[in-house]
Symmetry: none
Subunit: 215 residues, 4 copies
DNA sequence: AATGAATGAGTATTCATTCAT
DNA sequence: GATGAATGAATACTCATTCAT
């Protein structure tokens, strides 16, 4: 009645292409993914991809914006509105991040950047500005908030962010690399690791007089 | 006894080639490194490289053996001989690892594997068997030892190893990827991060009745 | 009688498309001009171009007919009607040619043919039949007329046409190729060159007993 | 006895490649010639071409240097050494040019430049500097010399060079474009045209008191 | 042992043309 | 009539590996 099937198709294309690109980029890396494969997975021809994204680089950037930038912004809003203990907020944010990014394909983007940053400097710059920087800003501000409120011991904020973020990123990377290879290496149970980490971390972070967490 | 300079040269070749390969693999990744570049950096011709290593794959494996397998074995020996608190041993092992692997180029190998495991399954298998598995074995056994001795709380061993290893690997990866790009992203001070981590971790690990670390 | 603006628009389309095509063909050559660009310059969409001209080839032919074939026919009429010295007529025809073709964009068509004749044999055939042949016919007949009337020395007619036509074509080509590149090459002052040429040529052509031109 | 066949081959390659490139560039133009075709015509594989010339652009430049730059330099030497009438020298230089460049494939290079200068600005700049400029310098100096010596009438030098050069270039272009298409267009007999031109030109150039040429 | 010339498979991007709307 | 989304053939350049010297 209203939009023709052709029209509907056209509007869905960008999403379909981004989904295909995300899948393949994460699976094979940026350089090793052929644009034609992306197009094929999205069910269109090579030329059509270029109708929507002018180059492989821009396609990648669009994937990052679609999958990461937006989530980070949401988390920042959430954090700003939160009332209650910072420890809870921190657990919540980390947990959400894991559920939304770590569990899905999107987490694999960090693998790509780790892998290919030095070979594609412009993509690296883009990723740092768009993802790394905002994430650290957000987590740093949370820890700061905990220290201000007396809930956390005074710790070096930036370094603590790295300790906080490290295991999660490492798990994500592992899942998308060696973990995806069906080998006999150590298996990871991410929720369990996350629980252990938050437990250890909070034991270490909480100040003496804040309510003890596990007694 | 009197090896000619020519002879000495010949015997040094493998080492020179491995050093060149390590440098370039870490800088550009496995796929993006050209064998001719490796040869050139080692001061020989393309053909000569193939005299010593039959393929790019085998060259990579040799680099791993040379730089990682051996260090892990040393650490295992050290651990076996250690007398005293497991906490100290853990700090020592982690510190040595950082000094020997994290600080130098060798750490970058983990970046390569994260990056390209799925594109080169055989290399992935090799790396897991040769590096990942033994490392987890070693660290797991240390934590176990701490629990057995009553020094540590009873924690899930495997998961804790991941939490322990995560930040270090993440730092190493970051240094060799985005960190190498001279961007304005968050800077990392690895010794500081390591200190923070060990502090937080041990606060979280130590059982109540073990001697408190920082009072 | 009262054509609607829409109607007028529709009738103007072919002209607008031909003008756009001429401009771009001359600027970039036949092969390097994209049909979409032509359409865009004419203010219509890609598909519309194909409504009026079934292929790029036919579009080119239409451009030639519009810009060259018609002028040549006009010149032939003029020549047939001329009374007076053939030298004057020759100067007039060459001058008009320069004004109408050499000065404007249309001259660039000859560049295209020189450039791409061998890659597009059918276009070449068309151009020879439609443009080259008639031009030589016309100029040859003028020289013949001069010889018949005793005004010119007996010279080999066909060869002389080439000498006559050469510098003009060369200038036109130069203007539309290297001359358009803003380099430091020799500059050309076409009217001056044309004057020099006609002077030299006529000195060489005129028979002894014809009135000397510049004494 | 000395150089191995392989060695001999290597040294001959650049020449073989340049010859193949000249042939194909002239036949099809720069853009329309595929590098693989050049390699095939030279009897080597695609990759080998790139062993000797780093890009299509550089291959083209090498072709120009090999075929034109060197000839121009030779002509300049000849002109500097010449004793006797400038008219004779001019005829000689033009004749040699025709024999060496016009007759062979090398003349077709000018067609390429006319055709593609605007699409490949860097090549255009190179060609002007390397070929056009020096040629005009040389011919201009000859005419100047004739005027100085009283042999020629005082004429505008630069414009006269264009008139002198025009028909030859035009013939060359024609031979390599429409003339190569086996059509029924006007045929050109270059030596005849050249003779006519030099006759007409010199009749026009020679001053009154210089010895008449053809009485 | 060492060289380096040669190979050829592999890939991002462009553009004339079609056709459903 | 007019549109513009979709197609897929076509092409420069790279690099692991071989092998004659």
């Amino acid at each position: 009645m209203s939009t023709s099937p052709r029209q509907r198709r056209k509007e869905a294309r960008p999403q379909e292409l981004l989904a295909a690109a995300l899948t393949l980029f994460v699976e094979k890396g940026f350089a090793a993914t052929r644009t034609e494969e992306v197009a094929a997975l999205a069910g269109v021809s090579k030329g059509t991809l270029y109708l929507y994204y002018p180059s492989k680089d821009e396609l990648f950037k669009a994937v990052v914006r679609e999958n990461l930038s937006s989530r980070i912004a949401e988390a920042a809003v959430l954090a700003a509105q939160h009332q209650g203990s910072v420890a809870d907020l921190l657990c919540h944010v980390m947990g959400e991040w894991w559920r939304q990014v770590g569990l899905g394909t999107a987490g694999g983007i960090s693998k790509i950047m780790m892998a290919e940053a030095r070979n594609f400097p412009e993509l690296a710059r883009f990723y740092v500005d768009e993802v790394v920087q905002p994430t650290h800003q957000l987590l740093g501000s949370l820890i700061e908030r905990g220290i201000q409120s007396g809930e956390f011991r005074p710790v070096p904020v930036a370094d603590t962010v790295h300790v906080l973020v490290g295991p999660m990123l490492h798990m994500i990377l592992y899942q998308h690399s060696l973990g995806a290879c069906k080998l006999h290496g150590p298996t990871i149970d991410p929720p369990a690791v996350l629980a252990v980490q938050m437990d250890l971390m909070l034991r270490g972070l909480l100040s003496r007089n804040s309510k003890a967490r596990d007694q």
